[in-house]
Point group: C2
Chain length 305, copies 2
Amino acid sequence: MVITVTILGSGGTIPTLTRNLPATAIQCDGKLFLFDCGEGTQTQIVRAKLSIGKLEGIFISHLHGDHVMGLPGLLMTLSQVPREKPLILCGPKGLREFIECNRRFLGFQHSFDLDVIETTGGTVFDDDELGIDCSPADHSCFTLAYGLRENERPGRFLTEEAKRLGVQPGPLFGQLQAGESVMLDDGREVHSDDVLGPPRRGRKIVYATDTRPCDEVALLAHHADVLVHDGMFDDDLRDQAKLKKHSTVVQAARLAKRAQVKRLILTHVSNRYLDDRPLLLQARSVFPNTKMARDLMEIDVPMYK
Amino acid sequence: MVITVTILGSGGTIPTLTRNLPATAIQCDGKLFLFDCGEGTQTQIVRAKLSIGKLEGIFISHLHGDHVMGLPGLLMTLSQVPREKPLILCGPKGLREFIECNRRFLGFQHSFDLDVIETTGGTVFDDDELGIDCSPADHSCFTLAYGLRENERPGRFLTEEAKRLGVQPGPLFGQLQAGESVMLDDGREVHSDDVLGPPRRGRKIVYATDTRPCDEVALLAHHADVLVHDGMFDDDLRDQAKLKKHSTVVQAARLAKRAQVKRLILTHVSNRYLDDRPLLLQARSVFPNTKMARDLMEIDVPMYK
């Protein structure tokens, strides 16, 4: 499975010409997941050449305008394209009423089922391949951080071992790879476990903004391949970050280090920074594998082999 | 006074990479008026290098999502910049509750007074120089068309006539130009009217979308310098236009001709048209002085001399 994270909006509070309001997409083969939906997200989705028809769900961190004002428009646009499956819409309490009140005033209907989940944490999506978990973050209103995790994949097929056990290449290989046991002509049984390596680790991507650095996010992000985290302020504005319940880039980098993530992407960058390089340098002094989020940036997340 | 119309969003229903959702700004020297506020308008305002600090009022045609979903975000951003004067927010009934419900869910406050006007027509703005009138248009929900009119300006000062009447150049000229009467040394009185030409006509710009062609709009647009009108469909889609309560470009052109406007700008162009030239040709066959609206297009409206 190809997993790609696309930053649709790397700004926060006020959009600029280079940083749209918060939204991050994760594409997992044919499934698309959207995290937050600031004003202008539907246009950013088109710009990023992502297909809204593939949307499985929209996961909202919190009910501040810069994170949700693109939602009614996106739902209206989704109603203009054919869609059979329901759409998951997940977020904190109040999300359903927010949608309902806009729907009432603007008189729009969806042409598909909306599966609204209001939650304070836990697993909010699960299928054969993927799951999405969420935990409370630490912001000025109730906020959720989300983790998308790929399930463990079966181990590699050990061709030489299978041959050694007397299995002939052909249909029996396929059965063993699919986890079944097979009976050989001489009556011996070979089990899938005998010819598969150890299960391969699944990938994990965590989206956490807006938030102070906090234990819940560190836990959710433990060993994540990619952590997209609030990095609104440079470290000189620690007081401001504390007051507004955001993170400085250094605070986010410390959390990334502690959670032993592979890569850190700093987002929700304040519109005061025309040049974000000083922020990047500050963060990298603590956690070298850091990037500043940019609109339409794509991050490929390689499979474990 | 310099009057410039800027198209911020020339599309409708669904935004595209070249056509944002409906919004048109009219700048009259230091005053800015916004008509409709689709999603993404605040970014288009920045892109057009207009200053939100100059906003006098926002005038909403109707409560369909594509015309208003940029409003909560713009109000939030306006609260981040210093502002002393109140902001007029005008539109059909329901506008106040739409704002209130979003404000309640998203917990934002304005830092300035919002002067909400819910109306079915009439004069909604008036100062020394300008007025804004509105009339019902003809759409699938109650919709207003707006006309911004410049007041008549005093006639030109007839210098030679003033001299002929014995007025010496100097302070008396200024008094006469300001509309006052003056007493000459020989006791004769000279009135302002004696030395001013006929009053100079004010300019008029009309914004009418979404709408079928209708009498109310034709009346409001009578002799307008610029008419920005719904031109969603080409003329082959007359039935579609009728059903959806929009106009074809030919219907809009006929209305422009009938209302004897100077220039027609066709807007709310459907996202089905990648190339809008055929629409332009159709409209120009009826009303030659037509343009298709484009995002960030600026239309200067020259003064009457």
